[in-house]
């Protein structure tokens, strides 16, 4: 009779394609890896509300304003689904927030870039959400049940985000010379960081092998990055955007695009905290968290008073 609390039994469940649920036995490494990955994903969604939030008050039409608000609301919602999933692993959201604010936990480096013109909102939706979709579709089959279910929900909502972004880019490329210039400028600034979203090359990725063994990660960084490149370049060309890479080409034999080498110096520099917005993003998060403390305390105090009142009249 096998020991159901053994790592061997756990691995055979994974290999059989079973889902692991919150109360099931799991190796400590699996739990830790998931907490790190899920919470970083959650933090990314929440931090991601900031660059897009930068343009809400300047959204140039009522339709655009509603769409942008709905999209950012979804991002917040995705953060919530993911914090929920992380909390099933025995960690509290308060703890996760503390880790984000202290710098102990990371979030996707893409959100350390600024949103400088309205076309950035298009680029973020089309490229950044586009890249996220490639990653997230794959994660729907992740082994941890709560994470997989959160990803299924997220994927359903995500596709409008990418369309919203592409629609903005299309309108601007079909618009005035000024609009076209803004769109190309946004493309120039968001293309390479979006490719970096998939993480280092497979050969340079420290956490990858465990993640694959435990079916947390279903495809490699490079596989996902290639998927994104192959679907996005034709979309760019269709609306007249230039890829900011003078050496990219289509390999007729494989059907895949080849690109110039990625500037990994920039990637590591931004992760290390020297991106244009790192400090601003975390400072913003801390500021509103602190400003909100009295509100949260009031909610708790009110509830305690009223529970007490109920007990007194019972």
């Amino acid at each position: 009779m096998h020991n159901e609390h053994s790592d061997t039994h756990f691995q055979s469940r994974i290999d059989n394609g079973e889902h692991i649920e919150a109360k099931d036995y799991m190796p400590e490494g699996y739990r830790k890896h998931l907490i790190r990955q899920i919470s970083q994903h959650a933090h990314s969604e929440v931090i991601g509300m900031q660059p897009e939030g930068n343009w809400i008050t300047r959204a140039p039409s009522l339709r655009a304003k509603q769409i942008l608000l709905a999209k950012i609301q979804d991002e917040g919602g995705h953060g919530l689904y993911l914090y929920s999933a992380a909390e099933t692993l025995g960690v509290s959201r308060a703890e996760l927030i503390e880790n984000l604010q202290s710098g102990k936990a990371k979030y996707s480096s893409i959100f350390n870039y600024p949103a400088l013109n309205w076309a950035d909102i298009g680029a973020i939706g089309w490229l950044v959400d586009g890249a996220a979709i490639v990653n997230q579709v794959s994660l729907q089959r992740t082994s941890y049940g709560p994470y997989s279910r959160a990803m299924v929900r997220i994927c359903k909502e995500e596709s409008f985000h990418q369309r919203q972004g592409y629609e903005i880019m299309t309108k601007m490329m079909r618009g005035t010379k000024d609009q076209q210039a803004m769109a190309q400028d946004a493309m120039n600034r968001w293309w390479w960081p979006s490719l970096m979203m998939f993480g280092p090359h497979d050969t340079d990725s420290p956490h990858s092998s465990d993640a694959v063994k435990w079916k947390i990660k279903r495809e490699t960084n490079d596989e996902l990055r290639q998927k994104f490149i192959d679907k996005t370049i034709p979309q760019a060309e269709l609306i007249g955007l230039t890829i900011p890479d003078n050496k990219f080409s289509l390999d007729e034999k494989t059907g895949h695009y080849k690109i110039s080498p990625i500037n990994w110096d920039e990637f590591y520099r931004v992760i290390a905290g020297h991106g244009p917005c790192n400090k601003q993003r975390v400072d913003h998060h801390i500021k509103f968290h602190e400003e909100g403390a009295w509100v949260r305390e009031a909610a708790v105090a009110y509830k305690q008073k009223h529970v007490k009142k109920e007990l007194e009249t019972a």
């Binding site: 939030g53 008050t57 140039p60 039409s61 009522l62 609301q73 917040g76 919530l80 305390e297 009110y302």
Partner: protein, 252 residues
């Protein structure tokens, strides 16, 4: 004035309230006291902007000069906006945001319940849809007023300050002029006198339950019906209108 002109102005007033309040609430995105509340306030903002769109589109139709809802929203000068002064007050701290929501949503619930009976079919239809949203906004505002008023001593103090600060803008909600008078005769507009009494009672009940004091009546600020606003509106419009003004030929 003609019914058409009066209805145009009346509709613009309602549309501007929704437009400017929706804008104020949208400023709070990523700034909420807890993530769930961020989403809650954004939802209210979305409801308001949707309502603004419906009302401003109707105003454009009435005007009959081929303008769109965006033209009306983005291309007027400050003196041609008719939102109430209360609406354009800054979000301030969460207590100020909630106090403004309380005063506005209780008013709007009472107002739109009556507007649903309007002889103007479009306004009546918009009112019908709006009431469902407003019920939620009002419930949300009342619940938070109770939590903050009857929470900690800090939240109580902040909420009382907010209620006191905004009180001087509440009188304007019940002002009526010749536009209202004419449209009331035609069964289109809402009589605000009975609404004022009801509003006072409702607010008194909520504030009392929240252990807050109702401020003494004071001189009520006024001017929005003539397009005379506080300094706040200029800044709101500078941001809102920026892209449309900077690129007047562009389509977004």
């Amino acid at each position: 004035m003609t019914t058409k002109d009066a209805t145009y102005t009346y509709t613009l007033r309602l549309g501007d309230d929704a437009l400017i309040l929706g804008h104020r609430l949208s400023e709070l995105c990523s700034r909420g006291p807890i993530l769930e509340e961020d989403l809650a306030l954004t939802n209210v903002a979305l409801d308001m902007i949707g309502r603004a769109q419906a009302l401003l589109k109707y105003a454009a139709d009435i005007e009959g000069k081929g303008k769109t809802d965006d033209d009306i929203a983005y291309r007027r000068a400050e003196i041609n906006y008719y939102n109430h002064l209360l609406i354009e007050q800054p979000n301030g701290d969460f207590a100020h945001t909630i106090a403004r929501q309380l005063f506005v949503s209780v008013f709007e619930f009472l107002f739109y319940t009556e507007l649903e009976k309007s002889r103007d079919e479009t306004l009546a239809a918009i009112a019908s849809k709006t009431i469902k949203e407003i019920k939620y906004h009002m419930q949300h505002a009342i619940d938070w007023t109770l939590r903050l008023g009857d929470g900690t001593s800090e939240s109580h103090k902040r909420m009382q300050t907010a209620v006191n600060d905004l009180w001087m803008y509440t009188g304007e909600l019940f002002e009526m002029d010749e536009v209202d008078a004419q449209l009331m005769r035609e069964g289109i507009a809402v009589d605000l006198i009975p609404i004022k009494a009801k509003w006072h009672d409702d607010i008194k009940t909520v504030l009392s339950k929240a252990t807050l004091l109702m401020p003494e009546d004071t001189y009520m600020q006024t001017g929005s019906k003539k397009g005379i606003h506080t300094e706040n509106l200029g800044h709101i419009l500078s941001e809102m209108q920026y892209l449309q003004r900077a690129y007047p030929d562009a389509v977004w």
